[in-house]
């Protein structure tokens, strides 16, 4: 089963479970959680069910396209079910059978792993899911977002698509994955990985990025003041990605790092509060 087929099977599975299927958010994010489809929608009381693929960039994890397991950008399949159904774990396990994986033939484990994203003031409790020892999914019950306890818990199921595909296709190197019949992951991604690694580790213009961060932060804050959630949040995402490059570049000291994270967090809280204010007005 090639990569695109696997993704579409999973998407359709969750669609049939009542999730709205969305396209990836069109901005750089570090994880599917940062997409407004997750971060904003898990706030407040409104029910929400969605499934979407999210390419996720982690500049510091880049390995110049040379490491068989680590990537500057990987793909997540993000599922949000809010409020969670009581059989959500069983539903999730059923999704494996679509990939030709019979649970009775494997060892599937839910191993404690609690997750937090300090820049969003978000935290959850849950597991990483092991498939014969390989971590293929992060399964989390949101407990906090935007620095507040969530009034209605959402489940976030994040499939690591490369890991899962390597398992399904029995490949030891991510670049050997079949994306489309006859087209490998390497054909599509290896050069990109190399270039982006060179950029974020060696070439990124620190001074320019620092200025960009300041500008985006200002613009985000200005939009928060105008109560325009979407542009405010989109500029927050730009801040977050800019910071991630700076961080990979290795020029951010400890106290500086904390200060940057605090600045992004302040914007996240601002957006979250606006979103909740809006929901309360409705």
């Amino acid at each position: 089963m090639n990569f695109e087929e696997m993704v579409s099977k999973l998407e359709h599975f969750w669609e049939s479970e009542g999730c709205t299927r969305l396209f990836p958010y069109d901005q750089e994010v570090g994880a599917g959680t940062l997409s407004p489809y997750t971060f904003l929608r898990v706030l407040g009381r409104k029910p929400w069910k969605t499934v979407y693929v999210q390419p996720s960039r982690r500049p510091a994890d880049g390995r110049y396209g040379e490491n068989p397991n680590r990537l500057y950008m990987h793909h997540q399949l993000q599922v949000i079910v809010k409020p969670p159904t009581t059989d959500i774990q069983d539903t999730y396990l059923r999704s494996f059978t679509l990939l030709g994986l019979k649970p009775a033939e494997h060892d599937i484990r839910f191993v404690e792993d609690n997750w937090e994203t300090p820049v969003l003031g978000a935290a959850g409790v849950g597991w990483e899911v092991w498939l014969d020892g390989m971590e293929v999914t992060q399964f989390t019950y949101f407990q906090q977002a935007g620095g507040q306890e969530v009034p209605v818990v959402a489940v976030e199921i994040t499939y690591g698509l490369e890991r899962l595909a390597m398992f399904v296709q029995k490949k030891k190197n991510v670049y050997e994955l079949e994306w489309h019949d006859g087209v490998t992951y390497g054909d599509l991604r290896q050069q990109v990985e190399r270039e982006n690694s060179i950029y974020s580790f060696e070439q990124a213009d620190v001074e320019a990025l620092v200025t960009m961060f300041d500008l985006c932060e200002k613009e985000s804050q200005r939009m928060i003041d105008k109560k325009l959630i979407t542009p405010a949040y989109e500029y927050l995402l730009k801040c977050s990605h800019t910071f991630n490059i700076l961080d990979a570049r290795g020029t951010v000291g400890v106290s500086q790092r904390m200060a940057y994270l605090a600045r992004v967090r302040r914007l996240a809280y601002g957006c979250a509060n606006l979103y909740l204010e809006n929901e309360n007005h409705e």
């Binding site: 490491n67 397991n69 060892d107 484990r109 409790v125």
Partner: protein
């Protein structure tokens, strides 16, 4: 009589929570049964990653009728001036269903109260149990809790089923939107099928058929037996320190099937400690050894489920092991592009502790403390130089990719890299040993420099954290203070090497003040010393030596290294008649000289004239230098023996001499003699405190 079975079915509980939750649940069920006077037999607890189970045997169908005494209002408010019951008393009687004429008055702590006896009739146990069941899950606490449904109920993981059977009767129970029933679920394989349980006896049998072993002890035995069966014929065995991992694995599976995997070739390129960490921490798998203790190219792992298709599981795990170890090789190669020294320069990007600065600052403090080691430890100048060099490199590996990825390899990685670069073996072992002992079962550092580095690191941490104003009370230990304290105490007590902790703490406070700020320096020296004394008391309490420790606890911290030998000597002297006499005399001396300082010498012209006084003075002055000599060479049995020689003259003194003589000069001379004895005896221990 019938058995009570309770099961809380959950989503997968963290393995580290399971044992404790099971214990708590048993305690609460037992307490509730007793609280409601429900007759019962043994109460057993069981658990798996997905269920907490209690089996209470031989529950009586109903409680016995019993008479209880209830306390009413005070007599003064129960009766008016005419002796008639007031509305308050009448209300009390109505509430309790008793006749006011049947009340009586009893004095409680000098005040009179109205009391009444009343009969509580038999009650059905099932009613009483149903009344306490809802309290149970709420009473079980976990280090980390979560909420998942609309009532906001808190538990470690979502509750998905409740089962409560008294004999064949299903008891009503509802928690967090879940209602009790007589059904449960087996191991997750394929479609979940519900299992109906007809009785507590039936439960274990039905679950076993559904591939769940509810008794953790049985799962452990199964794992051990299966591992034996696989390893013995090959002449292999598991390592000696696998206990903690086994504890964890027992609570990761409902139905264990052990398998032996091949260790990928790349493992041979990595240090054993790295391979072990990757396998244990990231895969919950065990390294395998031959009879000589050498690692063999296999690993042992436990599947949650049957042996069917186990080859698929094995191959999956082998390929994960390969990927993880390759990752480690990659990190190590990356790391080794630079010297360990280069990583020291990056420690300013790592926070040691909030408000206590960076690891770079910590390194500076450790170097500073190492450079004055002669002021608190008996070290040669060469050892001190090694200690300074080791302190400089000690935290460098925290900045490496490898330790960022595998934090438990701190120390280990630094030593591997430094050794690879041809570093001095003394420094290599000190870097590795600084974190020892990480657990009560682990040995203390084997080298002197390693022990010293470990101690100064831990004292720095302790001093810093207490200096942030943190109050280490309660059962939580968020900063690992207890472990640091225990490490210091064990290292000194077991190596028997004297370290003047009081001086070291003072130097550590100075170092903190030099590299940054201490938010709460007030009274810090005393707080750190008190904390350490608490850990020392705990250390000897765990060894069941509290009694003899109380005879030593007044000694300064620098004597800690001598405590085990002093205790041994006291233990050997325990039967001596003179020791008993001496204990008694020491107490009398302390009482009579209360408030007066111990004195280390007597003036030549002391006004002593009676023979008992003179004999005692002579004996004491003869004993003192010998005792001091024995103490310097740590011959405590001999020192105690010498003290015992004073038992007879002291007793004679107390028998014949009136210390509080009318003549002030005579009195003060006698008191001074006793202050001298107080000094001599106190050199060894406080005999009066001996058990």
């Amino acid at each position: 009589m019938s058995d009570l079975l309770i099961e809380i079915l959950t989503e997968e509980l963290p393995a580290r929570f399971v044992d404790n939750a099971q214990t708590q649940l048993v305690e609460h069920v037992t307490a509730h049964l007793d609280e409601f006077f429900i007759g019962h037999g043994d109460v057993h607890g069981f658990s798996t990653p997905r269920r907490l189970v209690v089996l209470a045997q031989n529950i009586k169908e109903q409680t016995d009728a019993r008479t209880i005494e209830v306390k009413g209002p005070a007599k003064a408010s129960g009766y008016d001036a005419q002796g008639n019951p007031t509305p308050a008393l009448l209300g009390f009687c109505r509430g309790q269903g008793i006749d006011p004429a049947d009340t009586y008055v009893v004095d409680v702590a000098g005040k009179s109260y109205v009391f009444a006896r009343k009969t509580v009739p038999e009650q059905k146990s099932s009613d009483l149990i149903e009344a306490f069941l809802p309290r149970l899950p709420r009473e079980v606490t976990f280090p980390k809790m979560m909420h998942w449904e609309e009532t906001g109920f808190q538990f470690a993981r979502p509750i998905r089923g409740l089962l409560a059977l008294l004999g064949t009767e299903v008891l009503h129970w509802e928690v967090a939107g879940v209602k009790s029933s007589n059904t449960t679920f087996g191991l997750r394989v394929g479609k979940p099928k519900s299992i109906t349980v007809t009785s507590p006896d039936d439960y274990m049998r039905r679950l076993r058929e559904a591939f769940v072993i509810v008794d953790p002890a049985e799962r452990r035995r199964l794992i051990e037996r299966q591992a034996d069966k696989l390893l013995k014929p090959l002449g292999f065995k598991l390592g000696d320190t696998m206990g903690d991992l086994l504890d964890e694995v027992v609570n990761l599976v409902e139905y264990p099937s052990v398998f032996l995997g091949d260790l990928p070739k790349v493992a041979a390129e990595l240090p054993e400690s790295v391979v072990r960490s990757v396998l244990q921490q990231q895969m919950h798998s065990f390294l395998v050894y031959d009879q000589n203790g050498n690692v063999v190219p296999h690993f042992l792992s436990v599947r949650n489920g049957l042996t069917d298709f186990i080859d698929i599981v094995r191959r999956g795990n082998e390929s994960v092991a390969n990927a993880r170890l390759l990752d480690a090789v990659f990190f190590i190669q990356e790391d080794m592009r630079e010297s360990l020294e280069a990583y020291v320069g990056r420690l300013d990007t790592l926070i040691f502790m909030d408000r206590l600065g960076t690891m770079a600052a910590k390194t500076l403090r450790l170097e500073r403390l190492a450079a004055c080691a002669t002021t608190y430890a008996l070290v040669t100048p060469e050892e001190e130089a090694t200690l300074v060099a080791a302190a400089h490199l000690s935290k460098a590996d925290l900045a490496t990719s490898m330790v960022k990825e595998y934090t438990s390899l701190q120390g280990e990685i630094g030593s591997v890299y430094f050794s690879h670069a041809g570093g001095s073996p003394d420094i290599v072992s000190a870097i590795r040993e600084q974190y020892l002992p990480r657990s009560p079962s682990e040995d203390i550092p084997a080298t002197r420099v390693g022990r010293l580095l470990g101690i100064i690191d831990k004292v720095d941490t302790l001093t810093g954290i207490l200096g942030t104003g943190f109050n280490p009370s309660g059962s939580e230990d968020p900063y690992g203070l207890r472990r640091a304290g225990n490490g210091i105490v064990r290292t000194i007590a077991e190596s028997r090497e004297s370290i003047d902790l009081e001086t070291l703490v003072r130097k550590a406070i100075e170092a903190h003040q030099a590299t940054g700020s201490l938010p709460h320096p007030e009274n810090l020296q005393q707080r750190v010393v008190d904390y350490l004394k608490g850990r020392i008391a705990q250390y000897f309490k765990e060894k069941q030596l509290t009694g003899v420790y109380s005879a030593l606890e007044f000694l300064p911290l620098v004597e800690l290294a001598t405590f085990p030998e002093r205790m041994q000597a006291l233990h050997e002297a325990a039967g001596d008649v003179n020791l008993v006499t001496l204990a008694d005399s020491h107490r009398r001396i302390q009482n009579i000289t209360k408030g007066l300082p111990a004195t280390a010498s007597l003036p030549a012209d002391l006004l002593l004239t009676d023979p008992e006084e003179l004999v005692l003075r002579q004996a004491a002055e003869a004993a003192a230098p010998r005792i001091l000599q024995f103490l310097t060479v740590r011959k405590y049995a001999e020192a105690i023996c010498t003290c015992e020689e004073l038992a007879v003259p002291v007793t004679a003194f107390f028998d014949r001499i009136l210390v509080m003589a009318a003549d002030e000069r005579v009195r003060s001379a006698r008191l001074l003699l006793l202050c001298y004895l107080k000094y001599i005896l106190g050199l060894v221990c406080d005999y009066s405190k001996l058990p």
